[in-house]
Each structure stands twice: as structure tokens, then as C-alpha cells.
Symmetry: C2
Subunit: 309 residues, 2 copies
């Protein structure tokens, strides 16, 4: 089956549902690549922002999907994804036959499988395609996408994937595999942020030179992508949310539920999740996930830059 | 004070106490740099191996230290370091005035401070200098050293540091700071190995393609130095000890004891330490630290390469 881009003379129509910082960036990347992009968000202000940069707005998800070859869902979790698909004025009631629904939310692989089966029963394709990378990569078309689905789903999605991603991992022919890879990444990311905050605040408690700790650790075997990235926020005392505590309350919660269901013990995840819950309970749920360092400081009297020291 | 290398015509004499894979490599690096090196080990076979590559052997630590400008202690922990210094035929009874004792074992910073004070009271210098890097870096003179101590200790130690290390972090003028930095590194390293093993075995439990998981994670935000390094052992099914489970039983135990003493909570360390203890209790204490993956497989029925799958 030829991909849609191989059909000369016809502009591919893409709908983006969810125009937050990620969805707006992805919509703009697709416009820049020459797709005709229509956007929907529950916030009319978000739609207005997209219209202000030349996009088209729609009144409902179904309206956005009506003539679309590709629908990209950029919402937070599986419940929102299900509502986008099958809720009132959901896209499923309007999807063209053979069009593709690209789901980017992080979710339990079993839920991704279920949504995919329900989509295919209605005659459209489903690509399980969680994303990695922040808002800057979204607007630059440089996301990493961990995707799985049928060949037909990949073929139909290709113009959008090419526009949005710097790297697409094609991980198998069944929905759920992309989600499973993303959950392995989130397991590690969530534990590494907690470890980074436990370590840097322990260094602070001992009165070590934290800039020197950062220099030494990032050049040593104790380094992680998250230590290198998030400890910068701690050293700057800047907890503006780039990714919030609540994201890992959600994602490590999914990992823990999956693991319990599969009879697989996850003691590191369990310990980290308790710290994210405590940070949220202490009022930092919407702050940057590096706020775990502030929690450790509260619990120990350690002094951190811009917090209490 | 001029360093010893600035005293023309006189060969610096260095003693190495502990000629295991690390100590032997460090002794050879110093010989290659032109130092006169004498070695001691409790195993006469280890001394023989050093003599076979052109080194001089000694009958006791005190004998090795007798004419040395620099004594490098390459033993496992603080108890062995104390024995090397102050035990029967220990180096302290023979150290020349103004010579320097370089301690490379990972230990509680408070113990490093105590040993340093006792050394200085006897008229010789003490450099707190934990090392990072494996046997290959030791023999190539390319270790990383996290050092603290007086200017006199650094000056006296310089010919040995230059010969053994690719990078020397000078972290302060008091013993204990080097040890504290090393403990922060070990906290992170120990937690990251446990997280890597929890994650890769969870991927195995779900039947994911583990080589693909390795490819995706090492290019993603979930990566760590330890994931990248240790998961290779898991994929190869090779648990030959490069660094053993017992090392982290020891090092995370030190972190936990330090943290308890300072009233600092370390839930991630605590969870990881339990897994190292379980691996040791299950008979894997002397195997590679990536054996935590085999433990997770035992506890969950996951299939790993070369183990049960």
C-alpha cells in the first residue's frame, strides 16, 4: 500500500487533538512540513493560539477528524485518549475508513491494545506511538517516537511521523509494544530523578560544594541522563515545571500497577513513587519533578540553593 | 614546598600495599612513570606476580614503607586500611617523616578524617583519595581520583597521582571530602545498577526484544552510565565479576549508616540495598553486580539470556 505522500497532488489532512505545549508544537511541525492541519483542544484559548499561527480550529474532536487522513492525539493519559476516541463528539464517530489514529499518551500497554482493537473494529488504523522529548523538540519536529502497529497504520501515519520526529523506533506490528517500551523508559527516568535528588541533597546535607559534585558525578560512573539534566534545576533553585511531579505520580503508578498484575516486584519503583506522592501531598505536585530535592531538604534540614540556603 | 619530582637526581620511592587487579595496575603505572616501586600483599602469589613484571616485593607493609616517599594503600575497606596503617607491621611504624600515605579505599568520611588525624599526629601526611575506574584504567594510568588533603599531602603525592590518574579532582584541604564525594557516586551507582536490573528484567517479563530495549533506552532520557554498562552483561548472560554484588552490599551499607547518623532519609538506597542483600543471600555475592537481574528473574519467572531463557 503506497503511503499518502505518494499520492501526488493531494494535501494530507491531519487533525491534532490536544494543543498544549507538546500538541501545539507537533501541529506546527506538521504545518511546516506541508500538511493541512486542523486542531482541537478543550480550552478555546489553546485553539486561538493555534489559529494565531495560521492553523485551523475545530469545534469538537469529531469535527477535527471529519476529513482527516491522520488524527494525532496529544493528551495526558489513557482516560483522556479514550474520551478523545469514544466520548461524546469523539473522533471515532467521524474517522474516515483507512485513516489512522496516532496515540501519543503514556499508558498501560494493555489499555493501548484494547483501544487499538476497538479502533480497528470500526475500520480505522491505530498507531501506538508514545513520544519522548520536550516542547522544544516538538516544535522543531525532533521528537523521539516509540511506535508499534500494523504496516497499514505505519504507512498511513508516515507523513505525520516524518514531520514530528527526529527518530521513530518501529517496535513491532501490535499496539502495546510502543507503550511497553515507554513504560520501561519512565520506570528508569522516575527512579533516576529520585536518586539524583536523594544524592544531591545528601551532598548538601554534608556541606559539600554542589557545583563540584555536579562536575564530578557527571564525569563518573554515577551519572544518568536525569542527574545531568535535573540537578541543574536544583543548583539554579528553579522549580518552574518543565515536567511536573504529577507526571511521575501517574507514570510510576502505571508501572507499579502493571508489575503487580504481572507478579513482578519493583522495590525501586515503589520507593521512588512514595517520594513523588509525598512531594505532591506536600503541595509540590504541579512543580518541576526535581522538587523531590526540596522534599529531601524539608525532611532533613539540608540547605539547597534558592530554597533555604 | 617543591614537589619531589622537582628534586633532580633522586628517584621517588613508592610502596603499594595491596596488589590485586587494581593495586597491581597502579604499581605498574608508577613503575612506567619512572618511580621505584615496592609492593606488598597478604597473598605471596600476588607479590610474585608483581616481581614477575619487574617489581620489588616486601615481607610486610612496614618493610615496604621503610624507605618510601609515598605509600599507596589499595585495599577494600576502612578496616583493612586501618590494619595497613596501624596493625602489626603496619606502615605507620616505618613511615618517613613528611612521606605521604595515599588511601584509595571507599569509606565513611568520618573514618577517613580519623585515620588522617592519627597519621598526621605521627608526622606523616595523609591523602584521602578514593579511585574510580576499573583494572584496565589502573594499568593504563588513567584512573579518576577524588582527592582531599593538605597542600603538603598533595605535593608529596603528586608523582604518584600523575602516574596513576587521568583525572585528579582536588576537592578540599581536609581528609573526608574525597570520601564524601565517592560515597555520593556510589549511592548513585548502586541505585542505578538496581534500577537497570529492575527495568531490563521487567522488559524480559513482558517478552520485549531486549536488544531493542537497550538500543532505545541508551538513546533516551532513561539512560544511565550503569544501564549502558551493566545491561550489556545481562544481554550477554555473562555474570563474571567485574565488580561484585558484595561491593555494593558494603558501599550502600556505608551510605545508609552515614545517612542514619545524619538523620537523612535514603529510601532509594534502602530499597536497592535490600536487593543486593537478597542477591548475596541467594548465593550471588561474589558474582557481577548485574546479577541483580538474575535475582529479579528468580523472583518473577522472567527469562533472561544465558540464565533460563
Amino acid at each position: 500500500m503506497p503511503s499518502l505522500t505518494e499520492n501526488p497532488g493531494r494535501t494530507v489532512v491531519a487533525a491534532v487533538i490536544g494543543l498544549g505545549s507538546m500538541g501545539l508544537g507537533m501541529a506546527r511541525s506538521m504545518k511546516r512540513a506541508g500538511l493541512d492541519v486542523v486542531g482541537y483542544d478543550i480550552s478555546s484559548a489553546a485553539i486561538d493560539r493555534f489559529v494565531a499561527v495560521g492553523g485551523r480550529g475545530a469545534a469538537t474532536p469529531a469535527n477535527a477528524a471529519k476529513n482527516a487522513d491522520i488524527v494525532v492525539s496529544v493528551v495526558v493519559n489513557s482516560a483522556q485518549t479514550e474520551a478523545v476516541l469514544f466520548g461524546t463528539h469523539g473522533v471515532a464517530e467521524a474517522m474516515k475508513s483507512k485513516a489512522v489514529f496516532i496515540s501519543s499518551a503514556t499508558m498501560d500497554p494493555a489499555v493501548a491494545c484494547d483501544l487499538s482493537q476497538r479502533a480497528e473494529a470500526l475500520g480505522f488504523h491505530y498507531l501506538d506511538a508514545p513520544i519522548s522529548g520536550g516542547a522544544t523538540k516538538a516544535v522543531n519536529g525532533d521528537l523521539t517516537i516509540m511506535a508499534s502497529g500494523s504496516k497499514q497504520a505505519f504507512d498511513a501515519a508516515r507523513p505525520a511521523l516524518d514531520a514530528m520526529a527526529g527518530k521513530v523506533y518501529e517496535l513491532g506490528d501490535a499496539a502495546g509494544t510502543g507503550a511497553a517500551f515507554k513504560m520501561i523508559n519512565q520506570l528508569l527516568a522516575g527512579v533516576h530523578i529520585a536518586a539524583a535528588c536523594e544524592a544531591i541533597t545528601f551532598a548538601a546535607k554534608q556541606g559539600l560544594d554542589l557545583d563540584k559534585v555536579y562536575e564530578v558525578i557527571t564525569a563518573s560512573a554515577g551519572n544518568s541522563w536525569m542527574f545531568e539534566n535535573r540537578v541543574r534545576h536544583v543548583l539554579a533553585g528553579d522549580y518552574t515545571p518543565l515536567s511536573a511531579i504529577e507526571i511521575f505520580v501517574k507514570d510510576l503508578g502505571i508501572v507499579q500497577d502493571m508489575a503487580r498484575s504481572e507478579r513482578y516486584p519493583v522495590p525501586l519503583v515503589a520507593a521512588a513513587l512514595q517520594m513523588y506522592l509525598a512531594a505532591s501531598g506536600a503541595g509540590m505536585g504541579r512543580d518541576d519533578d526535581s522538587s523531590l530535592a526540596r522534599l529531601y531538604a524539608q525532611l532533613s534540614g539540608a540547605k539547597l540553593p534558592g530554597v533555604n540556603g
